[in-house]
Every structure is written in structure tokens, then in C-alpha cells.
């Protein structure tokens, strides 16, 4: 029993442990086990969880996540449309979801609010809500999928982002549209340009035919049905067209940056 307990204690004498372990093995297996030399690696795993928690594991996971960004960008089809649904399929009530309570959601004065446009664009003017409302709008009923796993179907109405990018003379060869929001702690999120130009990616002003309520991101949300929910920023205050990866609220904490669906 003493020996067995020792297995679980970090810093155990590994040579001794191998000796003990091989004693209980059949003859042939013993010889191969020792000659194989695979034992030390296996023992490190037994002596605690430090292998899984170490920063080297974290570095490895980050690299794989970057690789997964590239894979997702590769399989992303700019012409593939997210499935649309009849109005009867809309989830009611549509869930409010954020890293804060609804009471703490930004309360924005629509009259004072301006949408700032920065970076690689010809026209850097700020837009009032009134001006944005005049742009042609389309409605779409699509599925919102949260990184947590749940999903809900909603109806969003607004201007296709690609039309707006064209209107302001954005350099669409740039890598990202980076959005900043009015949420507490300053929510922000980068959107890759190919997704920004997807026909269903939308500057959303209405939910269920009503002006976007506070819970869903008044006065403007970026609705991206080809991305997970956290890549659909609410309470948007500015957009920067840029070649730099500027990170994002959740992306910086470890959520996969592309997070395409």
C-alpha cells in the first residue's frame, strides 16, 4: 500500500518506481517495457497534473487554435448562406446573454450616439443613427449559436455590412473589421474581411421588426450568422478597417478567434 500511495506523490523516485512496476509484470512484458524506454514519460503523467496545466501545454493549445483559425478560413465558403427559417420558428423569448446582468447593459442615447469609422477607409465621417436608418435594409431569420452550445432563432433587420463598406470606400483587401462597443470593460471583437463581406453579415437595427431593444444591443449590433454569438458584437460604437490583429474581449481570454459556424 505504501508503494501505491507513493505513485501519487510528486517528486517520487522514478527509478525505484520503475523497478517496482516491472516486478508485477510478466517476464516478457518486463523486458520489453524497460527496453522500450516509454516508461519515464508515462510516469511523469502519473506524478501529478502539472503536465496538463503547464504553460507549455497552454502554448501548444494556442498554436493549435491558430492553426484552427487557418483551417476554418480555408473551409469558409463566402457564398454559403446560413440556413434561414420561417418567422414561426423564432425563439420566444429570445435569450439575453452577456457577461453581465441586463441591468448593467449599456444605456445608450440614440440621439447622441455616433458610429465612428476609422482605418483603411476613404470616408472617415461619423454616422448618426438617423443617417444609418436611411440605408437600405434587409430582414433575415437565422440561428444564433452560442459558444456555450445553446442556440436560438431570431429575426434581424439591417444593412448588409458589405454595402456599408462599399459606401465608405473601405479597403476590402484589409484583413479585419475591428469593432468596439459600449459594454462595460470595453467589449471589442475582430471580424475577418471575408466574413465581413459575406452577404448575410449585417449592421442590425431591428430585432423582430422592432427597433433593437437595449437587451439585444441598441442602437446597433453586428449580426454574423456564420459566426458564434460572441463574434456578433452589440452596442457597437466604432469600426476600424485594419490589417492588424487587435484582439478581442473573449478572443484574448482563449476563445478561438475565427469561431466560424
Amino acid at each position: 500500500m505504501g508503494r501505491l500511495r507513493k505513485l501519487l506523490i510528486p517528486g517520487v523516485d522514478k527509478q525505484l518506481l520503475i523497478k517496482d512496476a516491472t516486478k508485477v509484470m510478466p517476464d516478457l512484458a518486463r523486458r520489453r517495457f524497460i527496453s522500450g524506454g516509454a516508461s519515464l514519460g508515462a510516469l511523469t503523467l502519473l506524478t501529478g497534473c502539472d503536465v496538463l496545466d503547464s504553460s507549455s501545454a497552454e502554448e501548444m493549445l494556442k498554436k493549435v487554435s491558430k492553426f484552427n483559425d487557418a483551417v476554418q478560413a480555408f473551409i469558409f465558403n463566402p457564398d454559403a448562406l446560413a440556413p434561414t427559417f420561417p418567422e414561426s420558428a423564432i425563439t420566444k423569448p429570445f435569450p439575453f446573454n452577456a457577461y453581465y446582468e441586463l441591468d448593467d447593459a449599456p444605456e445608450i442615447d440614440g440621439k447622441a450616439w455616433r458610429f465612428e469609422v476609422r482605418g483603411l477607409v476613404d470616408n472617415k465621417k461619423s454616422w448618426t443613427l438617423e443617417e444609418l436608418y436611411k440605408l437600405p435594409q434587409v430582414k433575415q431569420v437565422t440561428r444564433h449559436i452560442c459558444v456555450e452550445g445553446w442556440s436560438a432563432i431570431g429575426s434581424w433587420t439591417g444593412t448588409p455590412l458589405r454595402d456599408f463598406l462599399k459606401l465608405v470606400g473601405a479597403d476590402t483587401r484589409a484583413k479585419y473589421c475591428w469593432f468596439q462597443c459600449a459594454d462595460r470593460e470595453g467589449y471589442n471583437s475582430p471580424l475577418d474581411m471575408r466574413t465581413a463581406l459575406h452577404p448575410q453579415t449585417q449592421m442590425t437595427f431591428k430585432f423582430g421588426d422592432e427597433i433593437l431593444p437595449r437587451a439585444y444591443g441598441y442602437p446597433m449590433k453586428i449580426r454574423v450568422p456564420t459566426k458564434l454569438g460572441f463574434k456578433n458584437p452589440k452596442y457597437v460604437v466604432s469600426m476600424e478597417v485594419t490589417n492588424d490583429y487587435k484582439g478581442g474581449y473573449w478572443e484574448d481570454q482563449g476563445y478561438n478567434s475565427f469561431s466560424g459556424s
Binding site: P26, L28, A29, R32, F33, L52, M60, L61, K62, V64, S65, N68, I75, F76, N77, A80, L81, A82, P83, R143, I145, C146, V147, E148, G149, W150, S151, P225, T226, W250, Q253, G254, Y255, N256, G260, S261
Partner: protein, 209 residues
């Protein structure tokens, strides 16, 4: 096809290779990948449980929080998918699947299961699977394929929307993914238990004979 209480020759059985090297290597890679996928999957499940009364203790999950678990899940998936695909190709190409897993008959399964439960099932020749083994091993391969496909349809419900539709939509695919996990965990419990009861089979999966 059943191998009921036959008195085999142990000398001949121990001399030949029971599990070829490729099977052993892929088996253990799969074991590691499966455990990583299951433990990180439980942590992901906890973020939005399908069943209100069922959540997994953090002591048996991997990743610490949703973001960490997702990183593990989407890293280990490559290990699982590439290894699994290579295993399927090898299994079909070498004829191992047809040779070792077929035929399976309901009568054979019942008679071998009865023999196993009354401890009358012979394990003298580990190179030949009994009918219960054949059914479980063939079955778990199918479950393995379905869990990967349902996982892909949850991961990419727009890009792979026809696959997602095949599962009955995004929400149904989540349940399919969950129940495949449950089947694999159930298989794992029985599998490990039987390997402990017949240690020679575990040895064969490590050193081949």
C-alpha cells in the same frame, strides 16, 4: 463461430502476434485522444447542460473553464480524427475488419453472452474474438464515426449544413453527440473491466503477444 470452452494449445497461442503493431499504436493514441475529448467535452457540456440534473464535477473535467476546454477539444479532435481515419483505412485495406469482426449473428451473440455471464467463455485464443466482442468492437467503431460526424455538424452548422441537416438540425446533433459519448463511456467501463479480468488481453495490446 463461438469459442465455447475449447481446450486450446496455449503454447501456440502465445507464440504468434495477436495484435499487430499498427493496431497497438493506434489503439493507445485513440485511448489518449478519447479521454482528452471526453473530459474536455464534459466541461463544454457544463456551459449549457442538455439535462438540468446532469452536470460533471470539475474534478473530472479538462480545461478549467469553457474556453480552456474548447482549446483542448479542438486540439485533441485532430488526434482523434487523423488516427481514427488511418485506423479505418488500415482496417479495411488489410482485411482486418472482415476477418476479425465478421460475421456477427444474433444467435452467436446470445450464446456467447450467456457463456460469458456464467464464466464459461474461453479466452484461450485471444486472436479470435467471440461474438459479443465482435458486436461491441464493430458497434463502437460505428459510434466513433457517428460522434465525429455529429461533432463536425455542431462545429460547422453553416459550412457543413447538409451534414447538420442529416442529423435533424443543430439542436438534435448536440443530443446525438452526447449519447455517442455516453455509449463510448459505457463501452470504456466494460472494456477496461474485462481487460483487467483477462490481463493477457491487455498484455497483447501492449506488446503484441
Amino acid at each position: 463461430m463461438s469459442s465455447l470452452a475449447a481446450t486450446g494449445q496455449p503454447t501456440a497461442a502465445t507464440a504468434k502476434v495477436i495484435q499487430p503493431a499498427w493496431v497497438r499504436v493506434m489503439h493507445w493514441i485513440n485511448a489518449v485522444a478519447m479521454i482528452l475529448m471526453i473530459m474536455s467535452g464534459w466541461q463544454i457540456y457544463n456551459a449549457s447542460p442538455l439535462f438540468q440534473s446532469l452536470t460533471f464535477s470539475r474534478t473530472i473535467t479538462l480545461g478549467g473553464w469553457l474556453g480552456g476546454a474548447l482549446l483542448w477539444h479542438f486540439a485533441a479532435m485532430w488526434l482523434l480524427m487523423i488516427n481514427g481515419l488511418a485506423y479505418l483505412i488500415m482496417g479495411i485495406a488489410t482485411g482486418r475488419f472482415t476477418r476479425k469482426l465478421l460475421p456477427i449473428s444474433p444467435r452467436g451473440v446470445i450464446s456467447d453472452a450467456t457463456a460469458a455471464l456464467t464464466f464459461k467463455l474461453s479466452h484461450n485464443d485471444l486472436s479470435k474474438y467471440n461474438q459479443v466482442q465482435k458486436l461491441l468492437y464493430a458497434g463502437i467503431i460505428v459510434v466513433g464515426v457517428v460522434i465525429v460526424l455529429s461533432g463536425l455538424s455542431i462545429w460547422k452548422p453553416v459550412q457543413l449544413q447538409y451534414l447538420t441537416a442529416l442529423f435533424g438540425g443543430y439542436d438534435v446533433a448536440r443530443y446525438v453527440h452526447f449519447f455517442c459519448m455516453a455509449a463510448i463511456v459505457a463501452f470504456l467501463v466494460v472494456h477496461v473491466l474485462l481487460a483487467i479480468l483477462v490481463p493477457r488481453s491487455l498484455r497483447a495490446m501492449i506488446i503484441g503477444r
